[in-house]
Symmetry: C2
């Protein structure tokens, strides 16, 4: 690894790895100082950021990129202020490093302590959202991790100036500039190479849509944390409070349909469907939500709807579309969830105690809700202060990944000559 012809990507990764050695053991004050400088420099160099971003937006418009994507790509004075404010909030979070979460003296007198340490170097592959560039880098910095960032090509100019500002800030704080680095080469092969940077990256976190996640899982040889694909369900039991059900489903569907914790398919107990569906339709109509569903749903709604297909049951719409299935009982609902859930967030609305317990025990997902909206699955809402993504795998971290989930541990054992018999 250390010798011979490194590719440009490997050269960059080696530089990040080398910088990590300093950052991984840098004291909390130094890491916070760097973040503080970032917050300040983002505002000071706002004009440069806006100019670079304007180039990206112009190119995106020229290329006929969709309006929603251009919105995510756009930076404004207010957005830069918000990014800067978010940095300051991260400074105020407790340091996730150095804590001893386990320790004992072994029978032979060896003193063992398990201490939280950074993961090392984190690779992050994401889409054309320049705010992620700063959010992700700052969370890595706070948790003592160097990072290698690879953002969507549409945001390259924005990402480069943000990278420059962050590297300037690192230097001002006395940390190696390559604690934060950006892969500028946006070719697909380079992205694939990045997924195979074993020996340089300790973990790779893809943040984006299902396609990106799939590509990373299929190609990566570096350990990956899958994030963010949310095909979420709400099961409305026959004992549910009707107004609560309408309110929760409306919130879970329409408060922000584009996010992973929004609901996609609702499963309604057949005994309550005739009362619930008309009320729900009335509420969702206010947001022009389109229905898809089973024949019974159509019958109760009394209007023609697109029949729900296998594809509907597996799709994260990210849109004002809801899929509805009338079920005979909770067993049928549980079977549907087990089959189609991406194990992100699942909810039951019920007043039956036993069923609420059975649902939370049997549903295999990062977050299981009783009588609440699935929209709460979020690092901020959970009180973690910030998140780098929502893990849908069971290894290492499940659910919102806050600073604690960006750490590993090491065992330190102090003795006075102990040998193993």
């Amino acid at each position: 690894m250390a010798n011979a012809k490194l590719s440009p990507l490997e050269t960059l990764a080696a530089s990040v790895k080398n910088s990590a050695k300093t950052l991984n053991i840098a004291p909390s004050a130094k890491r916070n100082e760097a973040i503080s400088r970032i917050a300040k420099n983002l505002l000071a160099r706002q004009a440069e950021i806006l100019a670079a971003n304007a180039k990206d937006i112009a190119a995106a418009k020229e290329n006929g990129i969709a309006a929603a994507m251009i919105d995510r790509l756009s930076l404004t004075e207010d957005r830069i202020k918000a990014i800067s404010a978010a940095c300051k909030q991260v400074i105020s979070l407790p340091d996730p490093l150095g804590k001893a979460d386990f320790g004992t003296t072994l029978p032979n007198g060896l003193e063992m302590v398990r201490v939280k340490v950074p993961l090392g170097v984190i690779g992050i592959i994401y889409e054309a959202r320049p705010n992620v560039t700063v959010d992700a880098a700052v969370l890595c910095l706070k948790s003592g991790n160097a990072c290698l960032l690879k953002g969507g090509k549409e945001a390259l100019h924005s990402n480069m100036i943000l990278r420059d500002i962050m590297q300037q800030s690192l230097e001002e704080a006395g940390l190696p500039t390559h604690c934060i680095a950006l892969v500028e080469d946006t070719a697909r092969e380079t992205t694939t190479q990045m997924m195979r940077l074993n020996g340089y990256l300790d973990v790779l976190i893809p943040r984006g849509g299902a396609g990106l996640i799939r590509a990373v899982v299929a190609n990566a040889t570096v350990p990956v944390i899958e994030t963010g694909v949310g095909n979420c369900h709400i099961y409305v039991d026959e004992t549910a409070d009707l107004a609560m059900a309408v309110n929760i489903i409306d919130n879970a569907k329409t408060s922000r349909p584009s996010v992973c914790n929004a609901v996609e398919t609702i499963l309604i107990h057949e005994a309550i469907a005739p009362q619930l569906l008309p009320l729900l339709k009335e509420q969702l109509d206010k947001h022009q939500v389109t229905w898809r569903g089973c024949p019974k749903t159509e019958e109760i709604l009394g209007m023609a709807i697109q029949p729900a297909t296998e594809e509907d049951y597996t799709t994260e719409y990210n849109d004002y579309i809801i899929c509805c299935k009338i079920v005979q009982d909770m067993t049928e609902a549980l079977a549907h969830i087990d089959r189609y859930s991406t194990r992100h967030s699942e909810a039951i609305i019920t007043n039956d105690y036993e069923r609420s317990q059975e649902f939370t025990r049997k549903v295999d997902a990062a977050a299981v809700y009783v009588n609440a909206s699935t929209r709460f699955t979020d690092g901020g809402e959970f009180g973690f202060g910030a998140e780098i993504g929502i893990s849908t795998q069971k290894l290492h971290a499940r659910g919102p990944m806050g600073l604690d989930q960006l750490t590993s541990w090491k065992y330190i054992l102090r003795g006075n000559g102990q040998i193993r018999k």
Copy 2:
């Protein structure tokens, strides 16, 4: 995934996944009952085990397999008794499931609790060591995980009878038999297929030599936990106690050279090398340890030794061979460790307080020792009761993986109608 033509491996994996649904939420008593039956049935059906194992050994001998491997492959009455006793010991360990390790009431009144749950289905690929078949399956069972086992082809007959006995035991305990399954097809393509059973396996743990681990890392699309490659170092500082250094190095090298926590390269401060090396040679000569080393080592030992090459520095000998490098100072030792360590176990022998602190802070490894043998990195020695392997990666688990490291968590949130603003 649920439809169409499944391969035989997928069919087996689907059956394991289905069985996992029951096992994942089975109470502790039921899981322990199954393990208890396994312990009993192993003894009751000992004759069948020995007969199957004899077939494997006969075939191995016919194929000219090395004696050390035949030893690992061999089961005897005593070894079966030991495996059975190890099962009983696992029963006595605390249940890793159901514990709430984090919980709070959110400002909106949502009650959140994070509960330990099984990973789900664990795939384990290992070499021709039939004891691992039972050890690994029982740890999975105890932690509520179903498992799909794939052992070395040389142990197939032994593994099949052990699988039968464990499945009988599951049935007696009222659990689905396919909570434990064995991949009988030992073709390399099947092993590769197993590494890509996304949707069936939640994690894949390879247990074996460096070649196996590399193949799994390169080919797996399922999340992997790398285990067991240990290129471990001991640095002897100039202030070290000579007798302690000899004693620790002798223990770390010769008490069991074939294991991953044995030492491979020793780094000796040049100020202490002239005193230490003769004493160390005298001790290691008792075990016919072969030396390799730098020119200074040769000079001090006053005998011709094979010069240490780059390959020596990267090799886990697993043998009575030691590599020695004389260093100018701890900085040189730290640089060597940083370059060649597999981040398993590293030790310093010193009486200098500041250096001991610097070493534990700067060395990036699962276990870092001061004045003790590296041989302690082991689930049993660490007090975990048992281990399924020693992770050398930083994600999810680092160091010995006991029952706690075979769990994930889920967040359960109970509300009364909360929606997100």
